[in-house]
Each structure stands twice: as structure tokens, then as C-alpha cells.
Amino acid sequence: MRQIHINEIIENVRNLSVEINTTLSEDIVDALKKAQEIEESSIGKEVLGHLLENIRIAREESLPICQDTGLAVIFVEMGQDVHIVGGDLKEAINEGVRQGYKEGYLRKSVLDDPILRKNTGDNTPAIIHVDVVPGDSLKIKMAAKGGGSENSSAMKMMKPSDGVEGIKGFVLDVVNKAWANPCPPIIVGLGIGGNFEMAPILAKKALFRHLGDHNPAPHLAKLESELLAEVNRLGIGPEGFGGTVTALAVHVEAAPCHIASLPVAVNIDCHVSRHREIVI
């Protein structure tokens, strides 16, 4: 059994909270630069210039890239030979979020109850998913997920007969309805299969993938490429002002499902796609 003290978890989550909100990963920055080159609309090109300038200012001055510093979404892959000492795993993660959001001057966007709607004041609780995996290390994947893109997302229990064409139609419909709300160019996370709760988790996990890497399954990689082209033909463009770059990537994750079902979830991420992972 390998022991990991909660202080190490707190410190890592605290640092991740600040890092992801101020420094956009190179894969996303590169994709935005490429988008600026290929965007055909002049206002779209100009807007992409503003977005890149914003990312530069945030990195240089350690400012939040976006004022919506999000809900903290955390996937933990915990080796089965790890023993957490000094306290509770989830409370340690929340303490890291609490410290990071306070010390990083990040916005506190979490309400204690969806009906009563009182701000908890420290951006906790985080949304935490824990998987137990072989090994003796602890992987923490963290995202700061904004409300605008999350509100633009959708899930549908489709019929198996809807097939690939049905799935594509649903994705295009969701993206088209969202228009400018999720701050395009967006990243589309598509979860197919599993069941009612699993498809959205697959879609969320798809957003953590290095931008533009394809699913290893050839039929899903093909679906990613086709959907990206089709989304970009919707004409939404950067910030919805019209243009040819609406999405930077479509990432698909799939899982086995019931003979009667075709669960499909579309989780949209904004161009400020903030996520990182660390391994302890």
C-alpha cells in the first residue's frame, strides 16, 4: 500500500485551480491560431485576434482568462494500492478548490441549492468522480467548466434505428440552438452509449482529450471528422457573428449499451477549454 497524504492532494488541486484558469493549454492556443488563419469571415478573423490577445494578457498577468471561472469538475483515477492518509479524499479536493479560488481571485459561482440559490462563497463543492484503477498512483484530472457552455449541452435517449445520421442530426441541432452562447469556436464532447447517466460522463471525459486527437476506433474517428466539417458548415463562426470556424474539434467517446438503447450526450466546451491532469 502506498500512502498519499491529503496535504499533497490539497496543494495540487489548489495549484491546478489557478493554473487552468489563467493559462490556456498550448493545444487550444495552437488551434485558435490555426482558426485565425483559416477563418473566412473578416469579423470572425478579427474576433479570433481578440480572443488570442485575451489569452496572452491572462497568461502574462496571471488573470482569469474568463470571468466565469467555472464549476470545478474533477475526475480522480485512484490506484487500488493507494491509501489516503490524514483525512478524507473528497474533502481534500474541496479544500484545494476552496484555497485555489480564494488565493487566485477566481469567481465563486457555486450555489448551495438550485431552488434557494445562495452562493456558498468558496466555489465548493466541486463535482467529483472517482474511479478505482490498478496501480499505486493517484491521477487528478481537473476542469473549470463555465456555465454558458454547460447550459448549451444536451442529452437524449435515441432509438437504435436513429443510427449515425440521427446522432449527427442531434449534435448539429444542439450546436445550432446554442449559437453564440457557448462562446465559439467550441469543442464538442460527444458521449454515445452506456446508459442514462453514463453518456454525459463520456461526453465530459471527451472534453479532457488533447485537442484534435482522434478516438482510436476508426468508425468513431470518422464520425469525429465528419461532424467537425458539418458543424463548421453551420455558419455560426467565432462568437456567433458568422464564419467558417464554429468548432475546433469534435471528440467522441463510446461505451457498450443496452439492446434497446442509444443514449447520446453532447457536452459543449467554450474556446477557453480549461483542463489539466496531474499524477501523484
Binding site: N54, D68, G235, E239
Partner: protein, 179 residues
């Protein structure tokens, strides 16, 4: 790029056309979901609003906290459609401009035409860049709402795009038609 000073007069608003890029300077007020809800509750009870919105521009934003030495934290626009349920009442009460992102409801667009107001979009996600254009910030109402409090901003060269003008045009719909 056209430069305009707030508050905007009727003639300036009438001259604005969908798709125009505008550099705004002057005073604007912030309000998002919770502040809108409170303002509408006040209007319904016949109480005075905490700010005089007549002729003013409201920016839909919930900024991050300012670091020491900063005027305000990052401050980009939030999704405007969440304010749609409240907006026609505020336009009726004299509000003249709004800054946010995303499409408005048919009711809001109709009210924009009727009350000769304007809806601008700012670049969503560009909170750090936009914060540099905010020269002064003070909370003027609903401080208990934290990031949702109403701030009075003094902005200089704040970049926006006209989405809905008084003639019923809509930038997003125009983009849609081009496909």
C-alpha cells in the same frame, strides 16, 4: 470603428446598424440573473429601482474579484437570454442599451424596436482583455449578491458589436441566412 459615449441619445441609437463595431466610453451598469430578478420584483411592487436606468446601458457580467491594485477582475459578457424574461420590463422603464452575448427572444427584439433601444455583443470569454477597458468600478446596489451585485463601471474604448438595432435587424440571424 465608431466611438460613442454613454448615455446614448436617441439619434445615436437610431444611427446604429446591426454588425457595426463600436467603441464605447462612459458609464455602464452591470446586472445579471439575480440583480434582474430583484429589480423586477421592485418594479412590480412599485418601489424605486436602486439605480436610475433611464437612458442607461446594462452590461450582463459577473466579474472575478479584483486583485490588489486592480480596478476589477476579468469581466466578459454572460449569456443574455437568461435575462430575456426581465428585459421588456426594463426597456419599458427606460433602459436604452444592453451588452451581453447570444440571441434574444422574439419578445425582447420586439421591445428593442418599440422602445428604440440597442443590444450589443461583447466577445464572450475575453474577460481579461475587456477588464483593461474598465477604468473605474464601484458596487452601487445588491452588494450581498457577490459577483451578481450591480456595479457602476466607467469604461474607455470598450469594444462591442451591434446585434439588434431599432430597425428589427439581428446580426445572428443574418449570419444564419448566409449559410
Amino acid at each position: 470603428m465608431k466611438h460613442l459615449k454613454t448615455p446614448l441619445n436617441g439619434k445615436e441609437i437610431a444611427n446604429l446598424k446591426t454588425g457595426e463595431q463600436i467603441s464605447l466610453s462612459g458609464v455602464i451598469y452591470t446586472a445579471r440573473d439575480a440583480a434582474h430578478r430583484r429589480m423586477i420584483e421592485a418594479v412590480e411592487k412599485g418601489e424605486a429601482l436602486p439605480i436610475d436606468i433611464r437612458g442607461q446601458v446594462i452590461y450582463y457580467v459577473g466579474p472575478t474579484p479584483a486583485k490588489p491594485g486592480q480596478v476589477i477582475g476579468s469581466a466578459g459578457p454572460t449569456t443574455s437570454s437568461r435575462m430575456d424574461a426581465y428585459t421588456p420590463r426594463l426597456l419599458e422603464a427606460g433602459l436604452k442599451g444592453m451588452i451581453g452575448k447570444g440571441k434574444r427572444s422574439p419578445e425582447v427584439k420586439e421591445a428593442i424596436k418599440k422602445h428604440r433601444a440597442v443590444y450589443f455583443a461583447a466577445a464572450g470569454g475575453a474577460g481579461a482583455l475587456l477588464s483593461k477597458r474598465i477604468k473605474k468600478a464601484e458596487i452601487v446596489a445588491y452588494e450581498d449578491l457577490g459577483p451578481e451585485a450591480i456595479y457602476r463601471f466607467e469604461v474607455k474604448d470598450f469594444p462591442v458589436v451591434v446585434v439588434n438595432d431599432i430597425y428589427g435587424n439581428d446580426l445572428y440571424e443574418e449570419a444564419e441566412k448566409q449559410v
